[in-house]
């Protein structure tokens, strides 16, 4: 009885969450006359790929997609390149103000993007980085870094220091210790941090909106939003764009989920 109630609840939640996506996907394959039919139909009577074709033929969707992939991947690489050494320092060295720094990092994450976007714009303009992908990557990195540091710090803390000490007495330099022992063990944490960063950069609208104006530089969220600005809003096309945006995120999740779920398990250390 309780299981049945639980199942009903889960089903309701799932429906609530998944229905808009399902509607988006079916709409992407509907011819335009079916999109506005009343009463609405869920499954198209005739499936069409016209919407997808229009998307690539009539808009710069392919450019936006390439921009998004470039910006999101660069953000992941840059964030990890800064956060991994940063979190290592915060967990492996004793220095004055270490705890203050950690607390401040979390505090800075509490600012909503909308609060810092204007100062960011001013800063980027001064650096002449407005309207460049590099500027956008820098902005995303700055925004993701507090959380990335905090997450990695927690992961690094959970890895026993003895393992690194064993490696160092075994003849490994500090860099080798990090590469051969710490990072393989912290892989789930690094992957989680990378995934988080990727999704944040992939989905962001506001930074891209403010920092980029040249059409050929736009990322997907901005590019798709601008499809509404056409005199005739082509819903079928917009829905197929939405569907395509989901695909890379799904792929990322499918690839990394096994790292997220399984660590190496205990065993090297007793206790």
């Amino acid at each position: 009885m309780r299981r049945a109630a639980l199942a009903c609840g889960v089903a309701a939640l799932l429906f609530f969450a998944a229905f808009p996506f399902a509607w988006m996907i079916t709409t992407a394959f509907k011819p335009s006359n079916e999109i506005f039919v009343s009463p609405p139909v869920f499954f198209p009577r005739t499936y069409t790929l016209d919407n997808l074709a229009h998307l690539f033929q009539q808009t710069r969707f392919a450019t936006y997609l390439a921009n998004s992939v470039l910006v999101a991947s660069s953000t992941v690489l840059l964030t990890l390149a800064v956060a991994v050494p940063g979190a290592y320092g915060l967990t492996r060295f004793r220095f004055r103000g270490r705890e203050t720094i950690s607390a401040t990092i979390l505090f800075t994450y509490m600012f909503a993007p909308i609060m810092i976007i204007i100062p960011f714009y001013v800063l980027m303009r001064a650096l002449e980085l407005v309207n460049t992908h590099f500027g956008l990557v820098l902005a995303y990195t700055a925004f993701c870094l507090p959380f990335a540091l905090w997450l990695l710090r927690t992961f690094f803390q959970s890895i026993p220091l003895e393992l690194e000490e064993a490696a160092m007495t075994d003849g490994a330099s500090r860099a080798q210790t990090v590469l051969r022992v710490l990072l393989p063990l912290a892989l789930p944490g690094v992957v989680a941090t990378g995934t988080f960063t990727f999704i944040l950069a992939w989905n962001d609208y506001i930074f891209a909106r403010v920092l980029l104006s040249a059409d050929e530089l736009k990322t997907l969220p901005v590019g798709i939003a601008d499809l509404y600005n056409a005199s005739v809003v082509d819903w079928g096309m917009i829905m197929s764009a939405g569907m395509l945006v989901l695909i890379p995120v799904l792929v990322v999740f499918l690839v990394v989920q096994r790292y997220l779920v399984a660590g190496w398990g205990a065993g090297g250390i007793k206790g």
């Binding site: 490696a167 075994d170 003849g171 051969r180 065993g267 007793k270």
Partner: protein, 365 residues
Amino acid sequence: MAKLVLRGVRKRFEDRDAVCGMDLEVVDGELLVLVGPSGCGKTTTLRIIAGLEDATEGEVWIGGRMVNGVAPKDRDVAVVFQNYALYPHMKVFDNIAFGLRMRGTSRDEVRRRVEAAAALLGIMELLERRPAQLSGGQRQRVAMGRAIVRQPQLFLFDEPLSNLDAKLRAQMRTEIKRLHLSLAATTVYVTHDQVEAMTLATRIVVMNAGRIEQIGAPAELYSHPATRFVAGFIGSPAMNFMPCLLRTNGAGLAVEIEGATLLPVPSSREPAYRAHAGRRLIFGLRPEHLAERAHGAPAEAVLSIEIEVVEPQGIDTMAIGRVGATELCARLPGTSSARRGARLSLSADMKQMHLIDPETDQVIR
């Protein structure tokens, strides 16, 4: 293999000294055990030798080279950690091979040496497993394999057996001893377990509160402890301590303990004790130097207790009672018929007695 020398090594942590001014020489091939209660600075000393901590003051010399400021990887020491510290993401083979690979040893040489070490430790069939698939004793062996495969100048063991159950601990203890006899490697071994220290050590360093209490061979520490701490720490069950008055007794000396008869001091000890006659001191005697007095035997040095607790241990039976206000433990043969509540008359082997100056905690010699 090499000689290890510590000169005036001190380690300060924020507000207290973990190690205060340690001087030590470990000769080539020796197995030196650092023993003491937790927090006595023994592990810190080991970490300073390994280079995992920097000494606040003092010098560390390994094989004639001062290694202060030298990174752990360049000290040519191997550490066996308390919780093994095996790399969980590597197979046993790779765990053992790690140190060799870090030093750029050739593939064939790595294989040959890992297999030789594994054969020596009896873990050949485990080489393809991961640490998570091993039992505690097996992990311990892998950790030792990782240390010996590199043939370092110095072995450092940090309480390697404290995570094992009693039976396995005894077995591994024997194996470590056998290993040391066959490799003749200079070794520093840290433990809080005095039995481990006694069985393994060439020499023992007893530490307390960051200081060396005494250095000596196991038998020497047992028979001639220098301080009250060493007297109480070495030996199990611990030595009995009783407040006493040392007084002249005719031509000789005797120990007067509240609630007991006078215990005559053997004449061989008189020259050392004479100067302390009339002082209040601590009388120390090990449980094994008390024996059940046979009926009608001469009442030379007798301590009488009412038995409160009997602890049979197979070969021995511990009888615990009180003399005056002080607890006294006697180690009796396993065949003893001692019963709780019975009165027990014990004859003390006064040749084994110790007197401790309560002001300095030094054993009077």
